[in-house]
């Protein structure tokens, strides 16, 4: 994966200069050897412990889920007539003009199937990707 790819050949000189400038400016500092060793140690610990969630996120998720369930329960017992059959059957809605696209929908809306010709990648991607399909839905 070098930078002299077939993709970059199609850029004009101005475009190439712009991309090169962004690449140069928008780069993180080098990872220090000590920091790298610490990250390796942390990764080793997490892998050997068989526990895969990141810092703080699972706690956030648990709190948010509990809160949402509590609110839903309160709404349900407080106003049983509020949820009409039409609403409860409604499909997930993405606001018109919202800054989401099919990549987001694919990631966060498991019911969304997208355009069959443009985004059905099942015929193009190897089966290896099936192994990671679930890890973003169960975390």
């Amino acid at each position: 994966m070098n930078h002299q790819t077939d993709d970059r050949d199609s850029l004009t000189a101005e475009e190439a200069a712009f991309v090169g400038r962004v690449r140069e400016l928008y780069a993180p500092p080098e990872l220090a050897a000590t920091r790298r060793a610490a990250l390796d140690a942390e990764l080793r610990q997490r892998v050997e412990a068989g526990w895969g969630f990141g810092t703080g996120r699972s706690a956030w998720l648990a709190v948010a889920t509990a809160g949402a369930l509590a609110i839903a329960w309160l709404v349900a017992i407080g106003d049983e007539g509020a949820l009409t059959p039409e609403l409860s059957r409604a499909a997930p809605v993405v606001a018109q003009g919202a800054d989401v696209d099919d990549w987001d929908r694919e990631l966060f809306d498991p019911t969304w199937v997208g355009d069959s010709e443009r985004f059905d990648d099942s015929a193009e991607l190897p089966d290896d990707y099936a192994a990671i399909a679930g890890i973003f839905l169960d975390s």
Binding site: D6, V22, L25, P29, D40, E42, W103, D128, A131
Partner: protein, 190 residues
């Protein structure tokens, strides 16, 4: 070369484990740089995303059949992890009364102007997620179009389309970047 990660307790095939160890060893720096660029220049978040991606890759390793490159497979996980992080940051911002959460970088690079980096991050943030991913992977990280398409799970034509639109938008947002070079920093500061 001493392996960076030891995975003695796993149930993954030893050969695959060795490849994973090598992946961590050889790709950590690049993975972290890619994550940093995808999450808006936030060093701490990039570390979290990279670590989580490595852990998730390891957890899914038993399902890897070698039909694709291990690296490409891993970077797909990383890109999705970064997308999840961005979403999660949005949720946290919502609960924090809508205030934006500033990227936190404990060790900003003195060689690069933070204001300029913030401008680039903002411009990237204005792209759609797909455009941003494609722009970062191809133009900033040097992925080939086919590698990028496989990594993102998108058809080649879609990747090309996103790349074109992303470049047009980025050039419009940062039109002065090449023309005035580093002098842009002074303009930003004022």
């Amino acid at each position: 070369m001493e392996a960076a990660i030891s995975l003695e307790r796993s149930r993954v095939e030893p050969d695959l484990e060795r490849r994973f160890e090598a992946l961590v060893h050889t790709h950590r720096a690049r993975a972290q740089r890619l994550a940093w660029r995808l999450v808006g220049g936030d060093g701490a978040a990039a570390e979290d995303v990279t670590q989580d991606a490595f852990v998730k890759a390891y957890r899914a390793l038993s399902g890897f059949r070698g039909e694709s490159a291990l690296e490409t497979w891993f970077y797909r996980i990383l890109v999705r992890q970064a997308a999840s992080h961005r979403r999660w940051r949005g949720v946290r911002a919502f609960w924090d009364a809508g205030s934006e959460i500033e990227p936190r970088d404990p060790k900003p690079d003195p060689q690069h102007d933070p204001g300029l980096q913030r401008r680039i991050a903002t411009a990237l943030d204005r792209l759609t997620p797909s455009q941003r991913d494609v722009f970062v992977l191809v133009h900033l990280e040097g992925f080939r179009l086919r590698e990028c398409a496989e990594t993102l799970g998108k058809p080649l034509g879609t990747v090309k389309s996103h790349l074109h639109r992303a470049l047009v938008t980025m050039r419009r947002e940062l039109a002065d970047l090449v023309e005035t070079g580093i002098e842009t920093d002074a303009k930003e500061a004022s």
